[in-house]
């Protein structure tokens, strides 16, 4: 933990739980939302925002900040929760998620403080992240760039254009995190994406698998990635949709999980019961 990381940093499991609480509050307030993905990715965001990334929560435009590029715009619910937890945006603003005129849109927009790029159209993020990392090196800054993309997004050809480019140029300050939840809009993975690590390795990347719902495993993987230093790195994060809330986890695996009005209280209780 360096001095430039948020002072509020605490145990990562607790941070992840706080993010999940916020995700449930936002989704239940709205009556819908990508609650399955939001809960699943909470550990990854907790580790990034409270362990790995160099940030100044009160200065989201700090030139030397590490950049987080969210490809999967529909994960915005979890990103907003993480940004509120880190103090970049106000906790009170979360209630406006998805509302008319809110800057917390269902798919993340760079007009929100702390959101680096406009995600949502999948297959953009890795190339943008490579460009930002290249720009950082060109301007003599040492910030790192983290791109969160999804397993379904690996089916987009542009992802591999970017992977080939970053591998060839050995863009060392670029780290990708692939969320493998084996689900996409039409249900279970429509096209097999595994083996993900060896695909990236063959493109010149350093790659490792990690349990995406285990903060300690993620810390170990990111620590190892940071030590690589001479090429881009990818941590393939295996997550479970709805992790932490059995009611959501046990739903038929779906891209957009439906939760009935009277089930939100159950979901919140289940989250609190989790160790």
């Amino acid at each position: 933990m360096t001095a430039t990381q948020p002072e509020v940093a605490g145990p990562l499991h607790a941070r992840a739980k706080q993010i999940r609480r916020k995700v449930l509050a936002m989704a239940s307030g709205r009556g819908q939302g990508y609650v399955g993905q939001g809960l699943a990715i909470a550990d990854v965001l907790a580790v990034l925002y409270f362990h790995e990334m160099r940030l100044r929560p009160d200065d989201p435009q700090w030139p030397d900040r590490d950049r987080f590029v969210l490809s999967t715009g529909h994960y915005s619910i979890a990103l907003f929760a993480a940004l509120a937890e880190a103090g970049v945006i106000a906790e009170s603003e979360l209630a406006s998620y998805g509302d008319d005129g809110s800057r917390l849109e269902m798919s993340s927009m760079s007009t929100t403080p702390g959101v680096e790029v406009t995600g949502g159209s999948l297959g953009h993020g890795l190339g943008i992240a490579a460009g930002i990392a290249l720009g950082g090196a060109l301007s003599g800054r040492d910030y790192r760039v983290f791109n969160l993309l999804s397993d379904g997004e690996l089916q987009e050809g542009s992802t591999w254009e970017a992977a080939m480019f970053a591998g060839d140029r050995r863009i060392a300050r670029l780290t990708a995190l692939v969320d493998v939840n084996r689900t996409q809009a039409d249900g279970d993975l429509v096209l097999e994406v595994e083996p993900v690590t060896s695909k990236f390795e063959s493109f010149g990347w350093w790659a490792t698998d990690a349990d995406g719902n285990d903060p300690d495993a993620l810390v170990a993987a990111l620590d190892a990635a940071r030590a690589v230093g001479d090429r881009p790195t990818v941590v393939v994060c295996h997550t479970r949709l709805g992790f932490g809330v059995p009611l959501v986890m046990e739903r038929e695996r779906a891209h957009f999980v439906r939760v009935a009005d009277d089930e939100w209280a159950v979901a919140r209780r289940q989250l609190e019961e989790l160790a």
Binding site: T118, G127, I128, G136, F165
Partner: protein
């Protein structure tokens, strides 16, 4: 992407080997000049650096040049990322590849984001005889409907050079059609300089107004000469910026002539003809308008002179359209 040979890309309404004065790589001249003073300017290409006149920049500033290989989507993403990092990226490829292959990437990462990315696109319209796969006949339409996007179709070496300066001085996304190689000089250097969003009146005549962009400007001027010989006085308005469109210049032209022709090296849908009609409707201008451009067809392979005749883009086509517009005046005024 197949590279297309240099040096015969522009017909300008006359034969390819006509002895017209040319300037070599005017885009590169302007780009290198601006980049010499501005370290924020970076160049990119997708395996077409040699064929989009950005190679002089790459040689002069190798540390500021990125070739992403044959990957137009990544070209736009890396450019957008460099813009996020504070740079002013200039990305080159062919018009067909930029606008057809990378459309979503330009829409979201350049236009929606308001990114300071310049997309410089070669082989606009029928400026190559290579064939339909490489002829950008719909790029202006694609780019014009994108919110925030500035769209420029320069007409000659002077316009190309000045438009490059203007695009780099502007903070925001720009789509700039590229005239490459030995580019003919059509304009007079002492004439009005290129100004973003401003049309320029090149010829004054009160019978008909020809609104032209890109390489059709030279043909419009040739048509005006041809018309003058038969007693028809034509104005020629150079509309190099399609977006934002210079509505006041068009109003003046329409009220001064009472009949219009649009001439574009592009499909007649979505480009200059469409922009002109939209502007007229919004301004309440009602005069007959004839369109010169590709009419719901792709281009073909062949010499540029052949293509101009086959696809209705020659100076004679512009002159004929002008005569039709003039003939329509009486019918319109009688309504």
């Amino acid at each position: 992407m197949t590279a297309v040979g240099r040096g015969r890309t522009l017909a300008m309404g006359v034969s390819e080997d006509a002895a017209v004065p040319t300037v070599d790589a005017p885009f590169a001249r302007a780009l290198v000049d601006v980049a010499s003073a501005r370290p924020d300017v970076v160049g990119l290409s997708a395996d077409l650096a040699r064929y989009t006149d950005i190679e002089p920049f790459a040689k002069r500033f190798p540390e500021r040049f990125v070739n992403v290989g044959m990957a137009e989507q990544n070209l736009v993403c890396v450019a957008a990322g460099l813009a996020k990092a504070g740079f002013t990226p200039v990305a080159t490829t062919y018009a067909v590849f930029a606008t057809r292959r990378a459309y979503d990437f330009i829409a979201i990462q350049c236009a929606l984001e308001g990114a300071n990315v310049k997309i410089v696109a070669g082989l606009p319209g029928l400026t190559t005889g290579y064939g339909a796969t490489h002829q950008g006949i719909d790029d202006l339409a694609h780019m014009r409907v994108m919110p925030n996007m500035v769209v420029i179709d320069p007409c000659d070496a002077i316009d190309m050079e000045q438009a490059t300066y203007a695009a780099l001085a502007y903070d925001g996304p720009v789509y700039l059609r590229l005239l490459r190689g030995a580019v003919p000089v059509v304009l007079d250097r002492s004439g009005p300089a290129f100004e973003l969003g401003r049309a320029a009146l090149l010829r004054e005549g009160e019978d008909v107004g020809i609104v032209a962009s890109g390489t059709m400007v030279a043909r419009a001027l040739a048509a005006a000469d041809e018309l003058a010989a038969s007693g028809v006085r034509a104005s020629v308005l150079k509309m190099s910026t399609l977006k934002p469109y210079d509505a006041s210049a068009l109003r003046e032209l329409a009220s001064g002539t009472g009949a219009l022709v649009t001439a574009e090296n592009h499909a007649v849908v979505g480009g200059l003809f469409s922009a002109t009609l939209e502007s007229m409707a919004r301004s309440g201008v009602s005069v007959p308008v004839e369109a010169v451009g590709l009419d719901d067809e792709f281009g073909t392979c062949g010499s540029l002179d052949y293509l101009a005749v086959r696809h209705g883009l020659s100076a004679a086509h512009v002159a004929d359209a002008a005569r039709r517009a003039v003939a329509s005046k009486s019918r319109w005024s009688g309504r």
